[in-house]
Amino acid sequence: METSGLNFILQAAFWVTVALTVAGASIAVFPRNILYNVLGLALALTGIAGFYLFLGSLFVALMQLLIYVGAICIAIVFAIMLSRPLHMEALPRPRAKVWLGILGSAVFFIGAVSVALKTKWLPAAGHVYNSSQWSVQNIGNALLTRYELVFEVISLVLLVAIIGAVITAGFSRRISS
């Protein structure tokens, strides 16, 4: 009885998260006000972090919250503040373009769904799921032994990106003048 109640709460939380994520993505795409778009993005990304929790990976959920919600959303807010797109005139959307856009994403949607339905999914052979494999300790060990090169390359990419961003946004006036 206890476990069935807990299961019900878990399932309810799962479907609420599904609804919040889809609603957040819709808010991020459709309204005209760009601040609503950013808030919807934060909602959708937080929902995705919730799914990582459901999937049993606390580490990736925390990284998602830190990087996407914490860093990228704040960076977008700063870019909005510095470039003032709120004053952009609201152009009417051509109806043909709207329908072509819906058609394009519907083609992708149908293609991906049909591929997923046609694939014969096989369960992973012979493994038993153990949550210790996804623990922070194991991930850290793998990052510093087997995936060391990936780790270093990622760090280099981030360093180059940050220097490039500073030069592009900060020193451009001096360079161009």
């Binding site: 878990l10 991020a28 795409v29 990304l45 995705i48 990976s57 996407y68 394009g104 994403s105 990052l143």
Partner: protein, 101 residues
């Protein structure tokens, strides 16, 4: 929670489609960037689901790579938008057709 894999995959496809629709429809460069972030998030979700289904941790490293690339993209992209706004006074992507011809 293992039976929800199809739900996760469907959700991932739906999020990706919404993001793609936004990339096609919206004119504001920052919103287009934001829709790309939604698409990356959907792909990350699919990676974690498949990694869980295969009982391996390799999808997690893929997710880390994608997150780092998304961070780099955010830094560079937003700096470029700020620069473009300073130079041209708009970030409407329909106005930037200089490289089209």
């Amino acid at each position: 929670m293992n039976d929800y894999q199809s739900v996760y995959l469907a959700l991932s496809v739906i999020l990706f489609s919404i993001g793609a629709l936004g990339v096609i429809l919206r004119k504001d460069a920052i919103v287009v960037f934001l829709c790309i972030e939604i698409m990356l998030g959907a792909v990350n979700l699919a990676f974690v689901v498949f990694s869980r289904a295969n009982q391996s941790a390799e999808g997690l490293f893929m997710v880390m790579c994608i997150m780092a690339v998304a961070g780099a993209e955010a830094a560079i992209g937003l700096a470029i938008f700020v620069l473009l706004y300073r130079k041209t006074g708009t970030i409407n992507i329909d106005k930037f057709n200089l490289l089209k011809w």
